[in-house]
Symmetry: C2
Subunit: 354 residues, 2 copies
């Protein structure tokens, strides 16, 4: 107990307050299962910069050893601490059939196959816009999730700032929506979408370039039933993506979807964004942990994550995941559409993968 | 569109404002898949009293016909409305392996089997205390869920007002917790638990009678890592169960679990309770829809639900489900422990199954 409090004190001395006893415990749980830095983050759910400093402190205190800047090993002292405090190993009971999402992507195998074929030629993720591509299984599960909630068929859907995942295109592929508008800052993605939309003759779908820091015009405000997005985890981006997403919704009962992670944000940040959601007049209907699996991105070496990591190894497997939120709008919901000038749009002290 | 607004107007005339366009749409989606009143509620996620009034209005307007007080049928007008408004049928993509929970109860088949054997002799659910028993698959999934989050092994756990489900006993059966205290108002359940605890020699587990309307003493306040509960959906009960549950938590990072339904509460009520959670200093980490499946209870005929229903048929299958919430406590979290005098503890205008 005291040893953990000492670790927390050292973290606080390094300016990190948004971490608690249970977080440290989880790290020691994860260390019993993996030596890989990235998997450690996956299992422990704390932001990369925090984990990097934490490993540094744990090494100084003699609980772990970073070997050849390759992997992280518990020392005898570390193992003794785990035994003394009775800290259980990390456990994973995730359903093997649906990967823990509660919905099987292969329920619509035709859609999945078509999507994979099309997505193989998509533009690669680039760092400029905080892109990270989710697995095709994730994208299709998102679409089926919308469908199972009555949020797809016959609906007008705004998919904004999430097109690195081709979620908008996947929705368009179903042919079920009344209208799909796909918004992204990245011209490459928009061009790709419009090319496919044209080639396949997909009805009622269009893709447009727009920087979400800039307000929407009346063309989009209050015109949609559903929005889908995937913001960076800064508060500025939350307002630009979620606030503006809410602003596109027509009426009470409209719904929004977005991913939010604990890799680039602490649980304390989550509390702030949930407070904002409640104040916006939104109610949270679902939060599904690790629904969104992100494939490793080519620009990993150039990220702050790679820079601050105590190892030189690249992630070998999926380690970046986010929870899937669904919200519904209630009477009096607020349409926030201000310009966002904030300089920490993509990156702040808890973020590192952009 | 106008026809739906007319329906909403009529609902408002009958004093029901907490319902919106999308709710009505969902009901018409469900009506394409079932004629059973209880399944209709399951698919539509609106409180029983609201659904009863709604069916009444839909029948008056000629969209449905209640046949022999047995089942509910779409009329030609109802089918035309669905076609005109392009309302999709209710869809269920729930994972068949984990029943949509994201976790397979049979990952610990020994525990499941042992629990089923023990639970066969448990006291039946009674109306006095708003009891409704979840399936054994639900109970075991809850335990595995706690375990997968590091909330079981070596933890001090308070299970309060949820023992009709024998969740506390199931936790005790694992032998993994440091301590389990089971609290319930129902002496029958507490006696049953203590008998099993004694017979099996379960360590560190005890069951005690307590009425959650009354405050806890220092014996329990700030003494636990985790609480688990299953409140009635009134605000008074929310405070008594969740507020008091939070008050038992030792420190930041502690976690709480509870079920909350849309059968006895509108989504508007959810917004209120989420606001309270945020104000208490809790962050919501998970909301998993339909995690908790409730078996039909013997006292159904004596409920307000049975009373207000437009049919005389009893539920034939599981129709009552609730979402599974997990929360974590952050710095400055509030320990609410006031006595609850509220007369609408078990039942209010949205509730009906107690």
């Amino acid at each position: 107990m005291e040893r953990i409090l000492e670790i927390l004190n050292e973290m606080e001395n390094k300016g990190i307050k948004r971490i608690n006893y249970r977080n440290i415990e989880r790290v020691f749980g994860a260390l019993q299962k993996t030596k890989d830095f990235w998997t450690l983050i996956d299992y422990s759910d704390i932001p990369v910069p925090y984990m990097s400093k934490l490993i540094n402190i744990l090494e100084n205190k003699g609980y772990v050893k970073v070997v050849d800047r390759k992997y992280i090993e518990l020392t005898n002292d570390g193992e003794r601490l785990i035994k003394d405090l009775n800290i259980p190993p990390h456990k994973d009971y995730k359903c093997s059939a649906c990967q823990g999402r509660g919905i099987q992507f292969y329920r619509d195998i035709e859609l999945y196959r078509k999507f994979v074929e099309i997505a193989k030629d998509r533009p690669p993720a680039i760092q400029d816009f905080d892109q990270g591509i989710v697995t095709p299984e994730t994208t299709i599960s998102r679409v089926l999730f919308l469908d199972s909630r009555g949020d797809l068929e016959g609906k007008e859907i705004m998919v904004m700032g999430a097109e690195d995942d081709l979620t908008g295109l996947a929705i368009a592929l179903t042919g079920k929506a009344k209208r799909v508008v796909i918004i992204d800052i990245d011209e490459r993605l928009i061009d790709f979408d419009n090319k496919i939309i044209k080639e396949l003759g997909l009805k009622n779908a269009e893709a447009r370039v727009h920087d979400l820091r800039k307000p929407y015009t009346d063309e989009f405000l209050g015109k949609f039933d559903i929005f889908v997005t995937d913001p960076p985890e800064t508060l500025a981006a939350f307002k630009a993506f979620i606030g503006r997403g809410i602003a596109t919704i027509k009426d009470v009962g409209g719904a929004g979807y977005f991913g939010f992670t604990l890799r680039d944000s602490s649980i304390y940040r989550w509390h702030e964004i949930q407070k904002h959601l409640i104040e916006y007049g939104a109610v949270i209907t679902d939060i599904i942990k690790n629904f969104n699996d992100y494939m490793n991105w080519d620009y990993h070496d150039d990220t702050k994550a790679s820079d601050v990591a105590p190892v030189d190894t690249k992630p070998k497997d999926i380690w970046y995941r986010s929870s899937w939120y669904r919200i519904e709008l209630l009477p009096g919901f607020k349409r926030e559409n201000d310009p966002i000038e904030d300089s920490v749009f993509y990156l702040d002290e808890e973020g590192s993968t952009t």
